[in-house]
């Protein structure tokens, strides 16, 4: 064992070679840079597309659920039902419709984000005080202006909290997309497992967590920019 280690140290100093196979290796980061960057870019693209699609579907759905209370429980029920289905099972169920493309992953992840987003949007709209809505109506605000100028801004903190949850879990779930070869960093993880390549596997795993933390921070910053009136009263 020691002999082998010395031999590699003398001959080939690369710390990701078959013989040493270390978990962390800066040489790997250097040599495989373009591959890592490509995977990270794909991961980011899929995550962001999925969350945006989720928001785009969740917003009208939550408005609909709010307008028609009878629909609310069925909308919540269906989205919770989707959430119950394991991600690895949901993607194959979409394949007959969308094929082995990035769209399969994006739509699947958007469906998951939907559950959290619809819930938090409904919660957010509910948190708007009735008096404020009544005052706005009294001032002559129409439905559209009431929604975008009064209700949405006041609901934003709760909605953004839901968006944070959705974003972070979407980053983690994107890895499962490696089933249809569109998993971003998940592709590296899968390759790392099948070829027993520890540096690749570990780097990709750490990058996933880093991406999740960064995107979470990004949502917080966006919230901070969008809700200037809450800055002074932070409890």
């Amino acid at each position: 064992m020691t002999l082998l280690a010395q031999a590699t140290a003398a001959g080939q100093p690369s710390c990701y070679s078959r013989l040493t196979n270390e978990w962390f290796c800066t040489q790997y980061l250097h040599d495989y840079r373009s591959e890592i960057v490509d995977a990270t870019t794909q991961h980011l693209t899929i995550t962001i597309a999925a969350v945006l699609l989720g928001v785009a579907i969740a917003f009208p759905l939550s408005l609909l659920a709010r307008r028609l209370p009878r629909l609310e429980s069925s909308i919540l029920g269906v989205s919770t039902g989707i959430y119950t289905i394991p991600s690895l099972a949901l993607l194959p169920l979409l394949v007959p419709f969308t094929g082995l493309t990035a769209a399969t992953v994006i739509i699947g992840l958007a469906l998951y984000a939907l559950t959290v987003l619809v819930r938090s949007m409904l919660e957010g709209f509910r948190s708007v005080p009735d008096e404020v809505v009544e005052s706005a109506t009294g001032l002559g605000y129409g439905a559209g202006r009431l929604l975008f100028r009064v209700e949405l801004p006041l609901a934003l903190p709760v909605i953004m909290a839901g968006l944070r949850v959705a974003t972070v879990s979407t980053v983690a779930l994107t890895t499962v997309g490696s089933l249809v070869a569109y998993g971003g960093l998940g592709n590296l993880i899968k390759d790392g497992v099948t070829t027993d390549f520890r540096a690749e596997l570990f780097t990709a795993s750490v990058l996933c967590v880093v991406l999740a933390v960064l995107l979470d921070a990004l949502v917080v910053v966006v919230q901070w920019l969008l809700t200037p009136w809450t800055r002074g009263v932070r409890a």
């Binding site: 919770t80 119950t84 394991p86 690895l88 194959p92 169920l93 903190p157 490696s178 998940g186 993880i189």
Partner: protein
Amino acid sequence: MNVFADTWTYLTDPANWQGSGGMLELLVQQLLISVTALAAAMVVGLPVALWLGHLGKGGFLAINISNIGRAVPTFALLAILVTADHPGVRTFGPYGRAGVATLIALTLFALPPLITNAYVAVREVPADVRQAADGMGMTGLQKFTRVELPLALPLVMSGVRLALVQVWATATIAALVAGPGLGRVITDGFYRSDYPKGIAGAVVVALVALVLELLAASVQRVVDPTPRGSRRGRRRGRSAGPRRVDGAAEPVGS
């Protein structure tokens, strides 16, 4: 579409269900490993979280553990556990290939929802009820076992339900690396371009997930100590669980 017909043929062919490596055996494996992991997580996590809730300490950790758990990809953790020398890819009794690694990963992923819900459940027992218990001269332990625990039970159960769903999903993902269970039908199908097989596996996994969720929901309703006469009460009770937890798991508006 053609794929659907082929999927149906795969599902209805008894040969695909029977024998070693058949779907029935894999289904049993996955159920067994999920239940074991959930039980292990409950034994480890619930007493600590409930008692911390009683003391009112460690709330930051108990609530944020869910947020941390959400950021770690299941797949990555499983991959690391399988590639490491310990516990590796070995088979483990009735749990099958990579049993130990999967069991550890499943237990870890079941812990966050259990801990967060149990902690919040005890914390949310109304203060006046606690004071009444104090006024009746109950000791700390009596208050915990006879007042706080029964009132916390519904929310604790909704944590168990979340954990069950989570564990089942994680057990499926285990197949992407080397785990036992039905996920293997899905991955085998996809990696060998036998899509009807992959989709058939997905259908079974999804159906079992829904059945488990419904079972857990009915158990939750049975253990709820507060009587539910009216329809409205029942509806509120069902939807209140997860929603309250979502709010608790994430410091809303902060």
